[in-house]
């Protein structure tokens, strides 16, 4: 098969050259403004002592502006992206990123507003943050929201530091945090960074928390239980009320990993399930583009008993006479403090509020309903034909917004692994689902089709899977050696890790 793509020809042999390799001494793009009338061209070493100055200029590329545009445009064509194709990555909620959101985030009043602007000159920005806080509070069913955390993982760490502050305030010092064995890897990593010990809780046959195992591990040394509901298997834990009271009765808090909130907006709320702390991934349910790996934002919503400890500053709405004034409240003596600089990823807040305003309460609810419909429909399609035979659903019941297949029979009967199927899907123009997660399903494929995909896209994906399995029945090597049509084929990750080359060596 051809090793070139439609958008690249073999003649463009520089396709993997770096911007450094295109550098030619003396070329440049930037023209800076003149220094200004009346300002002297004082030698820099008269302003700053020579021993504090750089002796050689930093090696940056020397390229003209057209070359920069061409270089990065060409690179961009070596990426698969959500705007071009179906991207059913489980647990990542790859939903459409409305372009209106980019437009409003780019308005100078948002984009060119300095974060240290006096609140009196930033009332629009603070009001926007306040509206988002209020919206997320209603969606999660918890009274107070801090927008500060930069991402879900920072929200988790914030939640665990809040847990510590809460217990400290009660004169207690529990040491353990319970997490299900299906948890995202960030959960245990965050637990350790917050100085707690991870204790794993088993999963029952329905994919939920094994309540008996939980009971055996609960004591007054438990600070918190971290849970994702629906969990990483796409299953809603029906025992949540019992789990909640078990943890609360032992003096612990309940932490909700909001990674899967897209399943339940307007249907059920973590606060009503008894959770004390929730983080919300604005880059998942609330349409912030993923950017190839950031930026995002991970606001947290908390119950009344955790509220005194939230990060500062907090956006507040004050009424002074008839005047409403939005302010940044630093006077929070029990606060855990800051997790980062300034007020959080405001640009993300603009996009997410635009999304919430566009959909409204009814639209958010409808989005979750259609996400669940799409997931169940695709699950049904994949339970038929060869997919049903080789890729059985782990925990076969109605799912929420995502579901997990096991490639174990496919590996055994056809000799192709989940990884091979994923790579072959690339040739069919689909981004593969999340693979090899969750860990407790052998050869796992985790599929999240989201509400912004049309039925015809789901059908096409199911047909591609069917074709690949049929092809593998005849010749497994096709999938085993895939992909063929991508800008590069399988890469030597072993070599890259044994002898890491992580930067250009500049002659």
């Amino acid at each position: 098969m051809s090793a070139t793509t439609l958008t690249e020809t073999p003649q463009q042999a520089d396709r993997a050259k770096t911007i450094y390799e295109k550098s030619v001494p003396g070329r440049r793009a930037a023209q800076l403004p003149p220094l200004g009338e009346g300002i002297n061209e004082t030698p820099i070493d008269e302003l700053i002592p020579a021993h504090l100055l750089r002796e050689q200029p930093a090696e940056l590329p020397e390229v003209s502006e057209p070359e920069i545009i061409r270089h990065y445009n060409r690179l961009s064509r070596r990426n698969f992206d959500l705007d071009t194709g179906f991207y059913p990555l489980g647990s990542c909620t790859m939903k459409y990123n409305p372009r209106l959101n980019e437009r409003v985030a780019g308005l100078p009043g948002h984009a060119k507003l300095h974060p240290a602007t006096d609140p009196s000159d930033a009332q629009g920005a603070l009001q926007l943050m306040y509206l988002l806080q209020e919206s997320l509070s209603e969606i999660t069913g918890l009274p107070t929201v801090s927008l500060q955390p930069s991402a879900g993982s920072q929200g988790e760490l914030a939640g665990l530091l809040l847990t510590r502050a809460y217990h400290d305030d009660q004169g207690r010092n529990p040491t353990k945090v319970l997490t299900p064995d299906t948890a995202h890897g960030t959960n245990p990593a965050s637990v350790t960074m917050a100085g707690y010990e991870v204790v794993k809780v088993a999963t029952n046959e329905q994919g939920g928390v094994d309540v008996e195992d939980l009971k055996s591990k609960i004591d007054d040394d438990v600070a918190c239980l971290m849970l994702t509901n629906p969990n990483t298997l796409g299953v809603f834990d029906e025992n949540i009320a019992e789990i909640s009271s078990l943890v609360h009765d032992a003096g612990g808090l309940l932490y909700y990993d909001g990674a899967n909130l897209n399943a339940i907006m307007g249907q059920a709320r973590p606060g009503d399930m008894g959770f004390d702390i929730v983080h919300v991934n604005l880059h998942k349910s609330f349409s912030q583009p993923h950017g190839g790996g950031g930026p995002g934002a991970g606001p947290i919503a908390v119950s009344g008993r955790v509220e005194p400890f939230i990060p500062r500053p907090q956006v507040v709405r004050n009424e002074i006479g008839d005047e409403v004034f939005f302010d940044l409240d630093y006077d929070r003596p029990k606060s855990i403090g800051r997790l980062r600089g300034f007020q959080g990823n405001f640009g993300v807040f603009v996009r997410s509020l635009a999304y919430i305003l566009s959909l409204g309460g009814d639209g958010l609810s409808e989005a979750s309903r259609l996400a669940v419909l799409n997931a169940n429909y695709l699950k049904q399609r994949l339970s038929e034909g060869r997919a049903g035979k080789y890729l059985p659903v782990a925990f076969d019941r109605h799912c929420m917004h995502e579901f997990v297949l096991s490639g174990a029979p496919m590996k055994k009967d056809l000799g192709i692994k989940t990884l091979d199927l994923a790579k072959r899907l690339l040739d069919f123009g689909f981004h593969p689902p999340t693979v090899y997660f969750p860990l407790l399903v052998d050869e796992a494929l985790m599929v999240e089709p989201v509400e912004t995909e049309a039925k015809s896209d789901l059908d096409a994906f199911a047909e591609a899977i069917e074709s690949i399995l049929e092809e593998a029945e005849g010749d497994a090597t096709v999938a085993q050696n895939a992909p063929y049509t991508t800008p590069v084929r399988r890469l030597d990750e072993v070599g890259a890790t044994r002898k890491p080359v992580i930067r250009q060596q500049i002659a």
Binding site: Y436, E493, V494, T497, R498
Partner: protein, 128 residues
């Protein structure tokens, strides 16, 4: 080494580690089964010479591209050598886990601990 092999002159720990005991010293490594489960090894960093390892406790990690595995000491003692060649060629752990892919040598602190380990046949049976 493509085929499973568990030499008879070695002692085995249930966490898939082996010991070659020679007088008051032992050479330690991971078994064929362990390296096969892990996949291609990309990194090993040994403990410091002079440090102590304790029976049943991890003393180092071996890494493949997408997994990390603790290496457990089958017997206790003081580290007297670390296989430095693995820094440049960790693939020896896959290719030859019992000879060039050895990990560390220790001076035994309690030679009687070796009696608790499995022989080749018992270990191979435990993998069934």
């Amino acid at each position: 080494m493509a085929e499973a092999s568990y030499p008879e002159d070695l002692k085995y720990h249930p966490e898939h580690d082996w010991a070659r005991i020679e007088g008051g010293e032992a050479t330690l490594g991971i078994t064929w089964y362990a390296q096969d489960s892990l996949g291609e090894v990309v990194f090993f960093e040994g403990p410091e010479i002079g440090s102590e390892v304790t029976k049943d406790q991890p003393y180092a990690e071996v890494e493949s591209v997408k997994a990390v595995s603790d290496v457990v000491a089958p017997v206790s003692g003081e580290v007297i050598a670390v296989n430095e060649s693995l820094a440049d060629a960790p693939e020896a752990i896959n290719a030859d886990p019992y000879e060039t892919g050895w990990l560390i040598k220790i001076r035994l602190s309690d030679p009687s601990e070796a009696d608790t380990l499995m022989d080749s046949a018992a270990y191979a049976a435990s993998l069934e």
